[in-house]
Subunit: 285 residues, 2 copies
């Protein structure tokens, strides 16, 4: 019997017109797309897959533009919490569909703690529960659950600010806080800027270009999010600095004045984050 | 006439028994020393140079252990502010011997601003002026002086937390805040820990070992300083995260719960900074 998967049957098809739209803004997606195209990837964005058909010579992918046959297909369909066991144990789920806990990682069932990708997290900027299943919070939740199982009330889980990192070949993309799209969708009035800078002093060999986007709340100047992309893993570190700054409630001016280190081999004297903060200030600093 | 430099004539000779004692603690110096020795450097620590004598076959370095002849010598004698021009203009120096300014970079002389390595800085942990002449603060001071020259009172310089980075070949060493020695010398009651961790997930190729020291105030748990050394420039980024955390007054527990990113190619799921914070907590988290 031939395999036929009809996309409308199993999942709501979201056809993306750019890469990682839930995580990064369009300016950063574009840099990632350019990196993939340079590497020879034939990117087809905005083309809904209508069906997959197994054929003797491979798998046919059916789109509105026609049918193409491939040897293999890999589908990225997103993730959702697998909460069946928890539900069968009487554990309450939150509005996100993931397990609801308090800050001690206690569920509604006496003696049952929950931790990990199954659990919703407190978002420190949005001040509500979200479901972002990533390992750092998952592991810390395990620590918190264990501590409180042994010594009730001894350790409180904090929230997350949405830090995430990924890569395509040598291109690293990292983000923390809210993207501009997320910030606007959540009612924030924002200003933002996108800058290009280098990872090392201009004259120092081995530096690469990075693109940094910074998003701040209008008026207060509070940093809401930072996204960085470039062909060097150091961009993950830039976003970690921003994660600490956002957790602390830094304004763009606070970030500018943060005593970030400099030496020609590790950063320009005006670090890319500082350049982004300066640029967003519109010449005030 | 033969050159003879007698060290006691020109400067107070400080003979170091370890590397960078003003910046890093002994555990970190030791890792740097091991890196230098591995690279073939014949390190002679704790041997005061008594004199240098020019000879037909080179320069003789005289120590208590005898005399050795070298083709070239390079002396690292430290730095001091060159304030002659400022002094001749009637500009007041601070207790550090560098130019004293207010937070608008104004000197005591009406209309004269000062910025750069010549100027003393406010240390945000020590809450007093220090003279640490490094480029990031110097450049920001220029920005602040310029802003206030045009629009008086428009921008205030913040202080520093003592972030610095250097390297020997592939070994990067970075620090921020106070070393344990500095913290103790300044009356802080401290606890500290030194951990070894890796820059990438254990199974991911290309990771290297890093050594992280974290120093915190006893009782409050406030992070006072972080030092990192390892054969990867990412260690500079770790210290930048710590600089933001220290500026914000984070405790070790705050640092542990900071939403630092993870992916196998950029960090272990327990980031080295988080491991250091955990270890210092003594098992509480």
């Amino acid at each position: 019997m031939p395999l036929e998967v009809r996309s409308d049957r199993y999942y709501k098809l979201v056809t993306m017109d750019r890469l990682l739209p839930a995580a990064i803004d369009a300016e950063i997606s574009r840099v990632l797309e350019e990196s993939m195209v340079r590497a020879g990837v034939d990117l087809r964005l905005g083309q809904p897959v209508r069906a997959l058909r197994k054929r003797s010579d491979g798998v046919a992918v059916v789109t509105d533009a026609g049918e193409e046959v491939f040897d293999e297909i890999v589908m990225g369909l997103g993730v959702r919490p697998n909460a069946d066991l928890a539900v069968s144990a009487g554990v309450k789920l939150g509005q996100t569909g993931a397990v609801e806990t308090d800050e001690f990682m206690r569920t509604n069932v006496e003696g049952v703690f929950a931790a990990g990708d199954l659990v919703e997290k407190q978002h420190l900027i949005l001040r509500r529960k979200v479901w972002i299943p990533l390992a750092p919070a998952a592991n810390k939740e395990g620590q918190v659950a264990g501590a409180n199982a042994v010594l009730p009330g001894s350790l409180r889980m904090r929230g997350i600010v949405g830090t995430a990192v990924t890569k395509f070949r040598q291109t690293y993309v990292a983000r923390t806080g809210l993207s501009e799209a997320e910030a606007r969708a959540n009612g924030f009035s924002v200003e933002s800027t996108v800058i290009k800078a280098r990872t090392k002093a201009g004259y120092y060999p081995g530096g690469v270009e990075v693109t940094v986007k910074i998003v701040a709340q209008s008026g207060s100047g509070r940093v809401l999010g930072v996204q960085v992309i470039g062909d060097d893993p150091v961009v993950a570190g830039y976003v970690d600095v921003a994660a600490a700054a956002i957790t602390a409630g830094f304004t763009v001016e606070d970030l500018f004045f943060t005593d970030i280190g400099y030496m020609p081999a590790t950063a320009p004297v005006w670090h890319p984050l500082i350049v982004a903060a300066r640029t967003l200030s519109g010449g005030r600093f």
